[in-house]
Every structure is written in structure tokens, then in C-alpha cells.
Amino acid sequence: MSLLATTPRPPAASPWAATLTLGWRAMLKIKHVPFQLFDVTAFPLMMTLMFTYLFGGALAGSPREYVQYLIPGIVVQTIVFITVYTGVGLNGDITKGLFDRFRSVPIWQPAPIFGALLGDVFRYTTAATMVILLGLVMGFRPAAGVVGVVAAVALIILFALSLSWMWIIVGMKVQSPESVMTSSFLLLFPLTMGSNIFVDPRTMPGWLRAVVAVNPVTHLADASRGLMHGNVAARDVVWVLVASAVVTAVFAPIALRMYHRER
């Protein structure tokens, strides 16, 4: 039997087809290894349950009222946390030699990066759905309905994609997927805890309130709450859009330049 192809060689995939194909691969990975989705969402889900029933009454009068406040923020926290998997996945691909394979195929060279981001969108959407479903079970009732929730999730994903560029850089710099993970907590914990995801910052000391006020995650949480409950402040949305644009404008070119440079 001949091993070689008998049909003529097709022209290599277009940038779009290559990106879609690599996005398909990212989805297959989630299908085959769903654990990588659950181990990062489990923590926020636990936080949701704990904060709602433990502190909900104290913080907002009743758990049911607190859930209305908390769920949009938890969606933010969950998605912001799993942005790190962009870097973990990329680092794994590099260390396992898969990137050599991709880079030796005559496709548009950044396709593996954009394919990974496409897979990330799918991952973020799945995670958001899980948190919101849990919220609905616990009594979360977004006043703005499906449209509001979809708009909020879209805004969160946009911000998450800008963070992903930072993880791409980390993923290319460090030696192993584990070190990407470790370095992520140094950034993500302060970023999500130093925000108004869990509590209204009114009771915080002044210096902390100042930190919370400039944290883009605070504005993202405010915007998400506003969009989901139908009382959004335009300035929060603008704040998030500008923050995403700035982070992307700074880190995407660095990431792509590093990616083009040989290893």
C-alpha cells in the first residue's frame, strides 16, 4: 500500500480556516479533558455558595438579595481566573513540540494564537453558563433578562480576551505550564479580591476604596451587574472598553512579536 497521498495537494488553509480549525482543536480539548474547566470553576462556585449562605444575610439583608448582587461578579471572577489557561495551553503546546508542527505548516503564522483565543471564547461562555445556571437555581433573577445577561457576558469576554494576551506572553516566557499557573495567582487574586465583586466597598477603609475604585475589575463587575439588572451606567461600560483596548494595544503586539521570534 502506498503511504503517500494519491490526490493532488490542496492549497494550504486560509487564515480564517486555519484559525477555525485550531479553535475546533481547543474545543476538542475541553471535550476530552473537561476537568481543566471544572477545576477553575469549582472555586468560584464554592465561593458563591459560601458567600451567599454564610454572609448573604449580613451583607445584603438576605441570601436572596445578596445573590442578585453576587452572581454577575462571580461570572467576572470565574472568567478572569480561567484566562490563565490561554498561557497554560500555549506553554504546553510549545514544550510538547506541537508548535513546531504548526509553525512548519504553510499557514498564516499567528493562526495558532487566534485559534487558541477562539477556543477561549468557547471556554468562557461555557463557564459563564455554568455560574449563571447555578445562580438561577439559587434565586438569581436578572431584571434585564436574556439580552442583559448576554450583553454582560460579552463584555466580560471582551475584557478576558485582553487579559489573555498577557498570559500568552507569560506562556512563552516561562519553562512549564505549572509556572504559568503559579504566576497567575500573583496577579489574579489581588485583581479579583481587590474589587467590589463580593462586597460594596462603602465599608472599606479609604486607601482600599481608592484601590478598588481604579481596579478595572470593579468597573467590569459594576457594568455586568448593571447590564444584567437593567440599570447600567454608561461610564462603567466605557471604562471597561477603554481598559480592554489599552491592555490589548500594549500586550498583543508584544505577544505576536515574541511569537514570531524563533525559539
Partner: protein
């Protein structure tokens, strides 16, 4: 005809290490060409330069007529690479891995699936097609990896140590695959640390050491360059080796060097008439011989003649080799 590969004074440095230190190669089309060298010789770096994954620091390399630095896309459109470490996605099944690569090479979904099925059958992987690649044995993974490089037919295929770490049966399977690929008209550049492998597969080969080509030719030519034939011995008892060396040197009047394992020896035989005498002398000295082979020098002997050390010594001392380069 334009050669498959032509390099002049190709150089690649990593910091102080000159991984490729002025390599001149010319590989004609339509054959298996071997790059033979110990650990750290610069084989992988050479292949990565030729496959446009690295940019040369000096010299030029043309692959199928295209300059690797100036026309990398044109090179990539004609070559395929199977790297040293199996580059398959372990989370995906064998079938999905091949569909992925087939899609990237431009097949439509349907065509990609059909080609994946074809390759899985041809590489004896049909039974494992639906299993995740992480469950594959080393040999299966290697075959999947090579299959991924044959989704479309490359004009030139790079195989970096395709059989390292495989058992003899898997190694034979890969050898058959390489021969079949070459028989179909694809040029193959393969690297290996195994002298036997280069001898069996490659029509011509280059021996590289410390980033330089130290010998080039057919394996016949390389063996002839060593000159005389060789007597290979393995003793029953390794502790007799020094004594055996002494006896052989005395009787054959030629150089004798130690082999790869502690109980083996190789002796040049300039005068075959003295062979029987040498063996008898060993017997008379009470040195029991477990294995004995007489014939053309092996590539091990070639390596020894070229570098003054066996290939195994080179493997054992990669640190020393980088020191020397630095």
C-alpha cells in the same frame, strides 16, 4: 536539477554555544540522506534551520531551490517535519490529530477525515483511531507523528531521530515506512544516533560532530576510508578485556580499541591470514569469546577513526563537548 538541500557555511549560535558551526551539505533529490552524530552534535538544530523554524546566524541554506531565510513560506509549502519529540496533541484522538493537520494543509473537512482514515489504516493505527494519543505506546505515537507529516505529500521530509526510544519491532516498522516513502519519490533527510540505522536506510550520509561535518559519503565509502576490515569480539567475561586487547595487539600487530560495552573489542585486521591464529591465541590464554564477527568496519569504527573516540563516548560526555565549543 536543483538539489533538495544545499548549505554553505551554515552557522547557528545559542549564546556561546555554536550548535551549528559551518555546515556544508548537498543532498540530491530522491533518496534517503542521513545525518549521523552523537548527542549535542547539532542534528536537530540543522533540521530546524532547514525547516525554517530557526534563522541562521551565518551562511546560507537553500531547500528545494528556496533560501530558508528569505523565502521561508516557499520552503514550508514543500517540506514536512517530524520533530525529535513526538508533536501530537495527547488530548486528542489519533483520528482528530490527523484531521487537524489535514485541515491545516488545506483539506476540506470531508477530505481531511478521509485522508485521516487512509493514514491510520496505512500506519496500522486503525484500531486505536478513536483513542486519545496519550494512551498510545511510544511506537504508535511515533507512527502517528510521521503519518501527520504525510497528510500531503512533501517533496522533502525531515525526520529527526525517528526511532530513538523504540523497541526493535517498532524500529523495523518505522524503517519500512521510511523506505516506502523514499520509494514513492519523496526525499528524506533523517537524523540518527544509531550507526546501524544510517547504514541500513541512508544512501549517503554526513557524520556531524560539534556542529561540523566531519565526513560525508555513502556508507560504503565511509567504511572504505577506514581501510582494513575489522574483527569484533565480545568476551564472556569483561574482566578479561585488557588481556584480550594485549593478545590481539600482539598477534595481529594492529590497533585494537574498546567497544561500546565493557566486554567488547574491535581490532583492525590488516592481514586476514592471521585471524585464526589470533582466535587460537585467545583460546590458549583462557579467554572465552561469546561473540565474534569479522567483516567490513561498522560505522562505529568509522566514528572512531574520524574522532578518536567511539560514538558512545561522545554520548557519555555531552558536557565536555559543549565546553570545547564554548
Amino acid at each position: 536539477m536543483i538539489p533538495a538541500i544545499e548549505t554553505t557555511a551554515l552557522v547557528k549560535r545559542f549564546g556561546e554555544t555554536r550548535a551549528v558551526d559551518g555546515i556544508d551539505l548537498r543532498v540530491e533529490r530522491g533518496a534517503v540522506y542521513g545525518l549521523l552524530g552523537p548527542n549535542g552534535a547539532g542534528k536537530t538544530t540543522t533540521i530546524r534551520l532547514l525547516a525554517t523554524l530557526l534563522r541562521p546566524d551565518g551562511g546560507t541554506a537553500r531547500v528545494l531551490g528556496h533560501d530558508v531565510a528569505r523565502e521561508p513560506a516557499a520552503v514550508r509549502a514543500k517540506v514536512c517535519l517530524t520533530g525529535q519529540f513526538a508533536s501530537v496533541d495527547e488530548d486528542l484522538t489519533g483520528h482528530e490529530n490527523l484531521v487537524l493537520v489535514a485541515r491545516l494543509f488545506g483539506h476540506a473537512w470531508k477530505g481531511a477525515r478521509a485522508r485521516a482514515d487512509e493514514l491510520l489504516a496505512a500506519f496500522d493505527l486503525a484500531d486505536a483511531a478513536g483513542k486519545q494519543a496519550r494512551t498510545y505506546s511510544g511506537g504508535m505515537r511515533r507512527r502517528l507523528d510521521i503519518a501527520a507529516s504525510l497528510v500531503v505529500t512533501p517533496e522533502l521530509l525531515f525526520l529527526d531521530e525517528p526511532t530513538t526510544g523504540l523497541d526493535p519491532r517498532s524500529r523495523n516498522q518505522v524503517w519500512d515506512i521510511v523506505r516506502a516513502i523514499a520509494a514513492d519519490g519523496t526525499t528524506v533527510l533523517l537524523t540518527t544516533q544509531y550507526l546501524e540505522e544510517a547504514d541500513r536506510l541512508a544512501g549517503r550520509l554526513a557524520v556531524i560532530d560539534h556542529g561540523r561535518v566531519i565526513a560525508e559519503g555513502t556508507s560504503q565509502e565511509l567504511k572504505r576510508s577506514v581501510g582494513s576490515n575489522a574483527l569484533h569480539l565480545r568476551l564472556d567475561d569483561a574482566s578479561h578485556r585488557a588481556e584480550a586487547r594485549h593478545v590481539l595487539r600482539r598477534v595481529l600487530g594492529a590497533e585494537v580499541h574498546d567497544g561500546a560495552d565493557a566486554a567488547s573489542l574491535t581490532a583492525r585486521v590488516h592481514d586476514p591470514a592471521r585471524l585464526a591464529e589470533a582466535v587460537a591465541a585467545l583460546g590458549a590464554g583462557g579467554i572465552a569469546v561469546a561473540e565474534l564477527a569479522y567483516g567490513q568496519p561498522s560505522l562505529d569504527d568509522v566514528f572512531f577513526a574520524l574522532t578518536g573516540r567511539g560514538s558512545e563516548d561522545a554520548v557519555a560526555a555531552p558536557a565536555a563537548s559543549t565546553e570545547k565549543v564554548a
